[in-house]
Subunit: 134 residues, 2 copies
DNA sequence: TCCATACTATTACATCTGTAACATTTACAA
DNA sequence: TTGTAAATGTTACAGATGTAATAGTATGGA
């Protein structure tokens, strides 16, 4: 499993952008984030630079500008964060977590369907294992 | 919704202990954590003290010793962390997350059943809403 | 009573984070 | 060509975190 650098709260905002659209110049990022946050352009540039140092973000020099792009995928990060979440709270956490998700109504009908499918598959596998060991 | 103080990675270890068994004296905590980590007793005491400052942990003086206990429940913390997780990755995150959970095999058969129930309920609610708006 | 022990309290210090100011270089317009 | 704006680079600084050392205090045994 690839090692994901530790990304801080503020830095996630930058990553989110780059996942959505990359490569992006520093200015692209500044422009977009200036809308959503109160960060000064220099602040945002610091975040980008730190991400580069951490090797979470790469860049290509294009003339005088830098074009940034993510070096880690969103899925990898979700995975890493999930693992750390699990370590913190143990398996017992997922239930209240899912409940929170549901309550926040972030779940579309299709997403719910997909999740149910994942769980159904897991349940089937459990059953299979039980049968085998019998 | 109650405001959960920001608890750091290392501090979670202390919280986990206290959730499992509290009240506990500083020494209880030190003893247990010394097994799992390489932290010196003073390090662990610092963590406890910080948690007290943050009001994540309370204590009662019992003679010369302090008995510590959590002031926030595990469920509250899971909830708060989930929300922050959601903010970071958006609703799209839950699918790979659940997949990770399943893969790590942290899910018992009963847990899966419970999760499926939660989702089924959510799905039914969606359906109801759709019908109403028709 | 007085010291060793066990606890608690104070202080330290390097990194990481959030938040930015100040400085330098480059490129284009006048 | 030279000043100015835009881009990049360097430095700053306070608060949080990881990790602990040292100092003070209370308490029970010699």
């Amino acid at each position: 499993m690839k090692k994901i650098p530790k990304i801080s709260e503020a830095e996630w905002e930058v990553m989110k952008l780059l996942w959505k659209k990359s490569p992006a110049t520093a200015n692209d990022v500044v422009k977009t984030l200036s809308g959503k946050t109160h960060w000064k352009r220099e602040t945002i540039r610091t975040l980008i630079n730190r991400l580069v140092q951490k090797k979470a973000v790469g860049f290509k020099k294009k003339g005088r500008q830098y074009h940034y792009f993510p070096l880690v995928t969103e899925a990898e990060c979700v995975r890493a964060e999930t693992t750390s979440f699990l370590k913190r709270f143990g398996g017992g956490s997922i239930e209240p977590m899912l409940a929170a998700f549901v309550e926040e109504e972030k779940l579309s009908t299709e997403k719910i369907a997909k999740l149910r499918r994942i769980l159904k598959k897991a349940a089937d596998e459990h059953k299979k294992k039980r049968n085998k060991s019998r």
